[in-house]
């Protein structure tokens, strides 16, 4: 029984397919008790995106990052070049070890009592160590690693549950979508370098410098829903669509759109829309001078991967949500976005832009332009998303005993792009885990 609303967790999501109704109780967006259960059963059990391998390219490179509320840092080992992920807390008394957002280090020293750790987390220096007696064992006083760290094609995830299934199993079919993105980027890199030889660099993509860090006064689940909801695009982003029209780009809506349940709560919508994609669908935003080349890249990708997968990689937008809180939108640019609930009604959001590595400067500049028109807190569209989710939160708080509906297309045999199938997929997994 959830104290706040006197409702069983069991009844908090209603999946009444035969009646055409799917709804969730609005207390799921307002209750501190629900958030407490989410922390234990979702954020501490699922694979959570930490960062990208390209963010720490050289041995000793580190980044400090809060992940689902936990201060962590990740550092590329000086011994093995492997990426280690530690809780950002000294083994001695808990002071923060890593006090810069990023840098390069041979070793990290706690400023409080000057305990020093190497990039493997081993304790290598303790002032006055002879004063420790009994069973003191320096080897047992290293930095504590996050229980599980695994990565797939450059995307690093952590899991605070030592017993968790492996990342690949967890990703299920979402893995294929990471493949589409990275394979497309690899071909773009080869194409712009004018060679069919792959680079010796194992990573074909990199996170750009510059991070979008903002927040919304809304529940974290609303942020997830908004990131892959095609239904809202026309009304919410009318002013963006008008902007495109003003600069010569008519938008007639999604074509050939579908949605897919990718397993384990992950889902995607994909479809064709008139705005461009840097890999590789030209539109007016990219400028006339790049038209021919982008078209050649599109053909190159189709030749390489075949008509079906090639078109999917080059021409189709995809908005993907990897359960619980990783949005990857491969649209007019490629945005990686995570979000975490500080309170039921306040969510911190962090976004990065992922790009093919070593991209030609003029292509990079156009890609950035394409990103900024729509995306991010200063874009022509994302501010409306912030407004939409905050507006929901305000409305929900008016009467937390009401329900929110995700019934669109419940009766469709094949989910359509504007349906709410993707969100139902997410909520079913959420409910399963909350009851587990």
């Amino acid at each position: 029984m959830i104290k706040d609303v006197g409702l069983d967790l069991e009844g908090i999501v209603e999946d009444r397919s035969e009646e055409g109704i799917f709804r969730y109780h609005r207390s799921t967006l307002t209750s501190p008790e629900i958030l407490e259960i989410e922390r234990r059963k979702i954020f501490d059990k699922c694979w959570i995106y930490l960062g990208h391998e390209s963010e720490v390219p050289k041995p000793g490179d580190y980044k400090r990052r809060k992940v689902v509320g936990r201060p962590l840092f990740f550092i590329r080992s000086r011994k093995s070049s492997k990426i280690n992920v530690f809780f950002n807390a000294c083994a001695h008394r808990g002071a923060a070890i890593c006090r810069h957002d990023e840098g390069r280090a041979n070793a990290l020293q706690c400023f409080y009592h000057a305990w020093t750790f190497d990039t493997e987390g081993n304790l290598i220096g303790v002032p006055g160590e002879e004063a420790y007696g009994g069973s003191w064992d320096r080897d047992k006083m290293g930095l504590k690693s996050v229980p599980r760290v695994e990565s797939y094609r450059g995307f690093i995830f952590v899991n605070f549950n030592p017993e968790a299934e492996d990342l690949i199993t967890y990703l299920a079919e979402a893995k294929d979508y990471l493949d589409h993105i990275v394979d497309g980027a690899e071909e773009a890199v080869r194409f712009y370098r004018g060679s069919s030889n792959g680079s010796s660099d194992p990573l074909s993509m990199e996170i750009l410098r510059g991070t979008h860090m903002y927040a919304v006064k809304a529940n974290w689940k609303l942020v997830g829903e908004n990131g892959y909801d095609a239904y809202h695009v026309a009304p919410t982003h009318a002013s963006y669509i008008q902007y495109l029209k003003n600069v010569g780009q008519e938008i007639s809506g999604y074509k050939n759109g579908i949605q897919k349940n990718l397993g384990n709560g992950h889902a995607v919508f994909e479809g064709e829309i008139d705005w461009g994609r840097p890999v590789s669908k030209w539109s007016a935003v990219f400028g006339e001078d790049s038209k021919e080349e982008m078209e050649a890249l599109r053909k190159h990708i189709i030749n390489k991967f075949g008509e079906e997968r090639g078109r999917l990689i080059a021409e189709l937008d995809r908005n993907l949500l990897i359960f619980p809180n990783l949005t990857i939108n491969d649209i007019m640019a490629l945005v990686i976005r995570t979000f975490y609930a500080i309170r039921p009604d306040y969510t911190e959001i962090t976004s990065w832009e992922l790009v093919p590595k070593g991209e030609r400067p003029d292509v990079r500049a156009k890609r950035l332009d394409s990103f900024l028109t729509f995306l991010g807190p200063g874009g022509f569209a994302s501010p409306e998303d912030a407004e939409a989710v905050e507006s929901c939160q305000q409305g929900v708080q008016a009467d937390p005993n009401a329900w929110s509906y995700l019934s669109r297309g419940l009766h469709h045999d094949t989910p359509q792009i504007l349906d709410e199938h993707q969100m139902r997929t997410w909520w079913r997994e959420w409910h399963r885990r909350m009851l587990g």
Partner: protein, 172 residues
């Protein structure tokens, strides 16, 4: 009168003093605060840029790094049009905005024009939102037909993140 205009049209950028620059910056702030955005766009030269780096990378190169805003003149014009359209839902109804511009300094004539630096605090109030943006402006001003115009405006934020703000939906 004609002679005055001719003199004005012919004046060099070196003749611009701090008082005139301050009046110009205060005029811009006032136009934004009063939502006179069509008039605001007229302060910009046709090759202008309006640039806001992210909080974690104030030294960003907008051609190579992710930034918050990097608008050319067309997007500056479109930003104004969008904000006035009633379809920019984050800003309709309009928020209350207040720009405080201080510490104005003329930094010298550079290739891109007269470099001016200033400090700013921008407040935004709407519903329960109380957002603030604090930082430094760098302007590169030039004379077009004798009128001061903004060639470039860069707003560098001091905050570590935008939080608790969810957007830079107004003009900084």
């Amino acid at each position: 009168m004609r002679q005055v205009e001719a003199d004005k049209a012919g004046r060099p950028i070196e003749s611009i003093g701090r008082a005139e620059v301050e009046d110009f910056l205060y005029t811009e702030a006032d136009l934004i605060d009063r939502w006179q955005l069509k008039e605001w766009v007229e302060l910009y030269a046709e090759d202008a840029r309006y640039f806001v780096p992210t909080t974690d990378l104030p030294s960003a190169d907008p051609k190579n790094d992710l930034v918050y805003i990097h608008h050319d003149y067309i997007r500056i014009r479109e930003l104004a049009r969008r904000l006035l359209s009633s379809k920019a839902h984050r800003e309709y109804p309009y928020s209350k905005v207040r720009h405080l511009v201080t510490n104005v300094r003329l930094m010298g004539i550079e290739d891109d024009g007269l470099h001016v630096s200033a400090n700013f605090t921008v407040w935004r109030f709407r519903n329960e939102d109380v957002d603030h943006f604090v930082g430094q402006y760098d302007y590169w001003l030039k004379l077009v037909g004798g009128e001061l115009k903004i060639g470039q405006k860069k707003a560098t934020l001091d905050q570590i993140t935008l939080r608790p703000a969810g957007a830079i939906s107004i003009v900084l």
